[in-house]
Symmetry: D2
């Protein structure tokens, strides 16, 4: 990819990101940012705030799921469309705490026709895995 | 249970509910209400708002997960405490739309020592199942 | 249901059971018996043998999965037909030991068109839960 | 790694494989072979036989689960020991047919203390994914 194409792809990703924020007040509310997007692979970032956490300063599992779900949806090009009986399996590996910067990265595991399987990994600023979701 | 005990239990549930709202800005933000609470069994209610939905007026999966997760956490008496490697499996069965009134009900499937397995079912105002979570 | 219908249903269940054993050498190999069958609900039985177990006399997880999977397949009337990307979640709750008599019972949790969700519970002769599968 | 170490590692893997077959009649029964073993990563092979399949010549899901479970157990160095409430999620992607040669490969996704998360992928002789298990 030469420099011009690279700039175009980044520009596209940013436009899609803006569009996504406009369409999803939930994603917007939690301050999720789109960093990179390629076919089947998306990276997002979110900083844990006081209003996402409990008294122990740990982020609510629902907020982490929301971020992972958005990352998956974006990767599968089906954001906001959900197949009936779609199943997501999330494993919480380590608590995310206030001021942690969480990165979500999705990878396409398998794809055939309109069906697909994606793994999303959430890591903190120290590279520790926070949660893994399969969708 | 006589009437006095029944009133006491309801009164306790309400106090716990208020406490929970104070402790969890996420639950408070989505307007989740605690209806009933018994050992291992909890019922909650939430009305789908515009700011939970996308352009197709369908509720974000992350908001439904958040409600189910709160219901589970409450039922397991471990709200806001999360076991390492805890796993949740959610299945989306039908979209929830704006103005839908969603009820979450948790049931204890299995318990031994500090380990337990809970099923949470989300249903809409017509009694249709929206999502099922096992945690 | 009068006595004649009851006898007929039992007779049908037995014929289906024989047919299933003929069609599935795997089920036959592990000695799984069909006890009762109703629409969406099936009960099976299996006794843990030496050749299903390890040195610690505990049954292999794969054998328990096989039994649960057969019970689910029978309940969904789709035995030996498998949807692409079908997902099964199994939780092992207590080891099954040699000479334990395991009962599998399936319940239909949700159904729409050709999609469905079933829970299968495996219990031992003391009524203790051995494993739960959602498929 | 020089040639001598490489030979030793292979020799060890083979001894462990023989030991495993002796200890697990279930694995032995299905003809699962151990190909390679490294810390956290194991490769196995199995050929689909008539007695693993149904009339449509497709392998029973329970046999595929058994192979994946053995691969996981070996990778986690805990074969035949099972944690209470351990959860396995399997997704069936494509049927395996008689005479297919299935390879199982496990990868360690996350590890802390005695807890760990492993992915096992089953592929056929054409490199197509048959099933994915997370345990």
């Amino acid at each position: 990819m030469d420099n011009t194409e690279s700039v175009d792809a980044q520009s596209l990703a940013e436009r899609v990101g803006v569009c996504m924020m406009d369409k999803s007040p939930v994603i917007h509310h939690w301050g999720v940012e789109l960093l990179t997007i390629e076919p089947g692979s998306v990276t997002m970032r979110m900083t844990i705030r006081e209003d996402m956490a409990n008294l122990h300063r740990q982020c609510h599992g629902g907020v982490l799921f929301t971020m992972a779900d958005a990352c998956f949806g974006f990767a599968s090009n089906s954001y906001n469309e959900r197949t009936v009986a779609a199943s997501c399996d999330i494993r919480f590996l380590k608590p995310a705490e206030i001021d942690d910067v969480i990165t979500a990265h999705s990878v396409e595991v398998w794809k055939r026709g309109r069906s697909g399987l994606y793994d999303v990994t959430l890591t903190n600023q120290d590279g520790e895995k926070i949660a893994i979701i399969r969708a």
